[in-house]
Amino acid sequence: MLVLTRRANQSIMIGHDIVVTVLEVRGDQVRLGIKAPRSVDVHREEVFASLQQANQAAAKSPKELANAPLPEVPAPADR
């Protein structure tokens, strides 16, 4: 792992188009600003992990999904 020291308002470059800037340091919290191209998703790690897990649990081949029962849809009156 690469370890760098930065102060508030200083940045690091990842590749040639991702910029991570330290905006503020207060106690044990650091506020970061991230500029990245559209093809790069930026998530908090724990949120990414939960989305990844949920997507992997949901994904199956359409053939397999065809065998799984669909939940009952509420009647329009209940919506």
Partner: protein
């Protein structure tokens, strides 16, 4: 107010995720098609280049009429949406052996730009919405 219709005149729509989906970084293009009976709110979102990857998705408001969120500026910018009317929202369903055990991901809705078909899985970290919200109504 977000319009939930997905271009009703088109049976099959291809959408493109510039960043893929968390857990599926390589599949970028998905086909969306109606799923289930005629007036079903469910759709199949299947990876165009991978026959093994499909997601059942649903219009969230059918099950959660009060579902709402604010699209953050960076997501809106990435998708190039200016007007809420440009946006289509679906949520990923996890089906189970028993219909009543199915869940829906309300934390990470899939947001689609209706005009460009650019899509991404947004995330609503401070919304309190669950990744596995039940789809069956408690009796």
């Amino acid at each position: 107010m977000i319009d939930t219709d997905l271009t009703p005149d088109t049976e099959l729509v291809e959408i493109h995720f510039a960043a893929g989906l968390p857990g599926f970084p390589n599949a970028r293009t998905y086909a969306l098609a109606p799923w289930g009976s005629d007036d079903s709110p469910f759709m199949m979102m299947s990876a165009v280049d991978d026959v093994d990857v499909g997601f059942v998705v649903v219009t969230p408001w059918v099950f959660y009429p009060d579902y709402e969120f604010e699209l953050d500026a960076s997501t809106a910018e990435r998708l190039g949406v200016i007007d809420p009317e440009d946006v289509v929202v679906v949520c990923v369903v996890t089906l189970a052996d028993r219909a009543e055990d199915a869940t829906v991901n309300l934390l990470g809705p899939i947001v689609i730009n209706r005009a460009t078909r650019e899509a991404c899985q947004a995330v609503l970290p401070s919304s309190g919405y669950e990744v596995r919200a039940p789809l069956a109504r408690a009796a």
